[in-house]
Amino acid sequence: MNGSDEPVAIVRAFSHRYRSVTALDCISADIPAGRLVGLIGPDGVGKSSLLAILAGARKIQEGAVAVLGTDISKAAERALICPRIAYMPQGLGKNLYPDLSVRENVEFFGRLFEQSRREREWRIKELLESTGLAPFADRPASKLSGGMRQKLGLCCSLIHDPDLLILDEPTTGVDPLSRRQFWDLIDRIRGRTAKMSVVVATAYMEEAERFDWLFAMNEGKILATGSPSDLKQQTGTQSIEDAFVTLLPHRQLTGNEKPIGPPLDGHAEPVILAKDLTCRFGDFTAVDRVNFTIRRGEIFGFVGSNGSGKTTTMKMLTGLLPPSEGEALIFGEVLRAGDLEARRRVGYMSQSFSLYGELTVRQNLVLHARLFHLPPTFAEARIAELIEKCGLADYLDDLASSLPLGIRQRLSLAVAVVHTPDLLILDEPTSGVDPLARDQFWQLLIDLSRNQGMTIFVSTHFMNEAARCDRLSLMHEGRVLATDTPAGLVKARNANSLEDAFIGFLEQEKPSAPSVLTLEQPEAIASEPDKTTSRDSRRSFFSFRRLFAYTIREGLELVRDRIRLMFALFGTALLMIVFGFGISADVNNLSFAVLDRDQTPESRAYLSELRGSPYFLEKPPLTDYAELDRRLKNGDISVSIEIPPNFGLDIKRGRPAYVSAWIDGAMPFRASTIRGYLQGMHQLYLSDPVLDTTKAAAPLPANIEVRFKYNQDFDSIYAMVPSTLAMMLALFPAILMALAVVREKELGSITNLYVTPVTRLEFLVGKQLPYVAVALINFIIMFAMAVFIFNVPLKGSFVALLAGTIIYVFTTTGYGMLISTFCTTQIAALFGTAILTILPAQQFSGMMTPVSSLSGSAQLIGLCFPMSYYRPISVGTFTKGLGLTDLGSSILMLLVFVPVLTSLSMMLLPKQER
């Protein structure tokens, strides 16, 4: 069990800061090799930061860190040892992909480590069988229970046989049985490969007892190091939990365990009554016929793993979810969505952090007091009381998002009880909170219950918290296994502790559970000949296998999300119809009205040109100037023609006659076009022999013939349909791609980019390919629509169009990729991509006006936007009948965009978190 004497990791004078907060403060440590090493300590003391640094996921700010004998501050050297490290980040299955099945998830990681199909299949089989996941190989990761999800995470970490396994709180939120199984599994794996070092952070102090070596941490510093027995001896305590508390410099654990106060009145009236409460999502039953009664003043606990139905039950009680069957009575009544009065009597603290992070502590409290309409004087007193009681005085003006988790939970509690409710429902209020803060939190709960008579319904997965409840229900897979007092439950199973009792109930539930752990293949790893291909071979700087790992993953996810896929495939078609018909530069159906103050045959002759024109539409005549003014103003007419009195007489007498026209200038383009039409018609009138005057009209000196090339009728559809196609291929791929990258950032799976050998190029291009494929399908659909629905035939070379399109969709997805690199939230990516594509596509890319004729920043934007180079290809092949040779330069320009966009994105996308 002891590999070499050399430590697996050496940390020297290392500090890490997040803006102004110091997470790690000049620590130095040698982490011994070949051991199970634990980091223990409260939340927010820098455990996770240290592990992320060791895994290479975060950038080193200050100090030196060597892992496996290599300085990891240098990217090239880090890349060399990266395949020897495995990292499982905090949070259930955070680096897993929920839409992918168990097998697909493991396969993805196998590909990232460049394993051949044969090697991969063999390893997956072995891992899934030894973890007991084999029967669930085809189940999506999102449908796994917390324990199974962690086992899957472990499989994904072990696929490449790491020398160093880093686990960040792997068992938080997992039921006791699964937790026990998890650690047994780790022990067996270590038994097989003795040289493997494991570094774990944990919030469960009782787990720390089984580790070989411990680092006790607090406030960014290491308090003590040694084996568990060393630490206990050093502090003269019996348990690691006590040892740790003793090690803390100035904080003290106030009383522990049982609530003090009057015993529960067994005959108080029930506050919550659940009768056969059932909730189904589709064919999945989340909560299955649950019954319990909670009496006034009681602290009632709900114990079970994540995904066992605790949250769903609580949501039904609060009226957030309607039960599929059965009913829940609160204060003797069913809580309905619209019942605001009953809400006033209930306080609810949801599982996720539900305060507004962008508000300060005081603002949060005041906001909630206002929303509950507490009288101002009472509110003030109440807030002051809560601030004092929950110890928030030091944090009043801090943003809620910047608070340490423990303080945040106290604030959440203060907010939940600001209106002095009769019933308080708390969903895992202490999840992820360190032991000390948890204890303080429970003191508050007990005070509320015993001294203020509040009924408290609380869920937890910590057994020592469960032990403090008056009564509790054990929940598993949607069902209540047992309900009793803690002592009663222990007695019922004849167990030593509540945890053992719970495990007893679970094992009774599914007796087959332990047997899945018996499968072992001890020699398999050592004997297989081709197993070390990936690790020992020299590191490749580019691997298609890693690239396709991302392509396959992204493609699977896209195919699984049916709604997204349908929109992505057919959204363009829909918009194509709308735009193809809707956008045009044709100006017709222009409304005009006449103010004919002459009313002679001559005036009517003049107007007949206008009236016969297909472009104009006559509205009722005008009677005076006021009406002319009004109708132009409200947009009823676009143009008015005024013929003055004596028009006919003037013509007859050979005096020059004048006609005046007023055009609505609100839309300049339309106004200019109307002016052109009117002048053209005027010319026609002048050359018309109908004009009977004393002077002969002069014949025009020359015939000017306007030839509209490519489109004889000058019908805008022939230009608009190919342009719309270009525009659609700019918008959709960019948005889909941008969201795909930012989504990984927001949901946390970006960690896989940080800690596996995959390079940025492989990551980006791998993710890009499925969207390129989607865009090409879009193209084929739109192409067919252009030809068959819009009757715009392809006159030129299809090969040129196809070649241009393939390169173009690489550039548009690349454009989205570039935007995604500097956005951190999906909202920003969505809005950013929208405004940075729609405007240039619609106005600055030659759709309406050639780019060369634009001016100012518009032209610059146009020149930097790929559509400006694709539109000539699309319009050229469809309408102008061009081929490859004519379009060579445009295709070449597009081609230049691909490496530029890709390398810019690579530069902006960090390979490590800051």
Partner: protein, 375 residues
């Protein structure tokens, strides 16, 4: 009263969270400043710097005059090209216009033989082709007429047409495109802010928190509407005063307060539809796609880019149901034509009507989706 107070206080929370998102704030500022400016200065809606080539087979005084009559800024300096190159140069989009002056053109004109002159127009350059061909004809006609009148007296035209453009005498397109830029930003932003505010609240679990408090879905929805609407209304006002009036020096004929009132009415609609989309979408990528399908057509087809009367009648009718159409219509009436409430009230009424309908629908959906699937 109680309800109003809830809406107000919840809204202040929305405002705070909006102002804490710096990237979003940056994009908003961009779309109401730089985006408006570049649209105003783009000259995309007129004939500006159009490229023109001339095939002069006449080499006469008249043909030279015609060539030199094409002036900046409407046309770029005409370039002499050979007849054989016309096809190729136009194929590659090098020139939008090519004028072909045949041999002996001047002689034939003077002899009254009415020779032909050809203007080749690249019909795929939508806006320039239509307007520019008219300009070119006019320019050539005027040149020829002047040339001829030097040689012989031309009779005066018996009828003269005086064309005047109301509201925008010089047909400056920046007047138009700057305000249309603001309008399209309003639509895009209002929908996305409201929709994303809802999806974000759900993703962060704070929606459950709101729903277990004594708040009605109506109050939650209204707080998002007023807060996001308020941000955009302020942005529009600032953009009109600072960017359009001060920076771009565009005169605004009508009353900005009246326009702002109309904008507020419109914002009710746009944020309501944003909330509606927020209840339909299960995730951000879905919201993004839905948004493209709804917001982009509403913008492009509102009449701000293409006149409604040029669309197929069925589409123009459908677009009457979209308040964005009425918004563009009353924006043009108020800002350019100086129309008052007496003129634009029907549009205001239409926007308010459709807005209330959507608000009602989205609150209905809001309530049902939140109570059924808040998981």
């Amino acid at each position: 009263m109680r309800s109003l107070s809830n809406i107000f206080w919840l809204g202040t929370k929305e405002l705070r969270s909006f102002f804490s998102d710096w990237v979003l704030l940056g994009f908003v500022i961009y779309s109401f400043s730089l985006a408006v400016i570049s649209q105003a200065q783009s000259n995309a809606q007129e004939v500006f710097h159009a490229s023109i080539g001339v095939v002069d087979e006449d080499h006469s005084e008249l043909s030279r005059r015609i060539t030199h009559a094409f002036l900046m800024p409407y046309f770029k300096e005409p370039v002499a090209i050979a007849q054989a190159d016309i096809e190729h140069l136009m194929d590659t989009g090098k020139y939008t216009f090519v004028i072909d002056i045949p041999p002996n053109f001047q002689r034939d004109v003077l002899a009254g033989r009415q020779p032909g002159l050809q203007i080749n127009v690249d019909a795929t350059a939508m806006i320039q082709a239509g307007l520019g061909s008219g300009y070119a004809q006019q320019i050539i006609n005027t040149e020829i007429a002047q040339f001829v009148s030097q040689v012989e007296r031309v009779p005066e035209s018996p009828v003269n047409l005086a064309v005047r453009i109301a509201f925008n005498p010089n047909v400056t397109t920046a007047w138009f495109s700057s305000v249309m830029g603001i309008i399209s930003s309003v639509t895009m932003l209002a929908i996305i802010l409201a929709g994303a505010a809802l999806v974000r609240e759900r993703e962060h679990g704070t929606m459950d928190h709101l729903l277990v408090m004594p708040l009605s879905p109506f109050e939650i929805a209204m707080s998002k509407i007023w807060a996001n609407g308020f941000v955009i209304a302020v942005a529009v006002g600032l953009s009109l005063y600072l960017v359009v009036r001060l920076l771009l020096k565009i005169p605004i004929a009508g009353s900005i307060p009246l326009f702002t009132l109309g904008t507020i009415l419109y914002l009710f609609f746009a944020t309501a539809i944003g909330l509606f989309l927020g209840t339909v979408a299960r995730s951000m990528p879905q919201l993004g796609l839905l948004y493209m399908l709804v917001a982009v057509p509403m913008n492009v087809l509102s009449g701000g880019a293409t006149p409604l009367e040029s669309m197929p009648p069925w589409l123009a009718t459908v677009m009457q149901a979209s308040p964005s159409t009425h918004f563009v219509s009353f924006a043009q009436a108020i800002l350019y034509r100086g129309a008052g409430l007496d003129v634009v009230w029907p549009q205001f009424l239409a926007v308010a009507g459709i807005a209330s309908l959507f608000l009602f629908l989205s609150i209905l959906r809001f309530r049902s989706t939140l109570s059924s699937a808040s998981n």
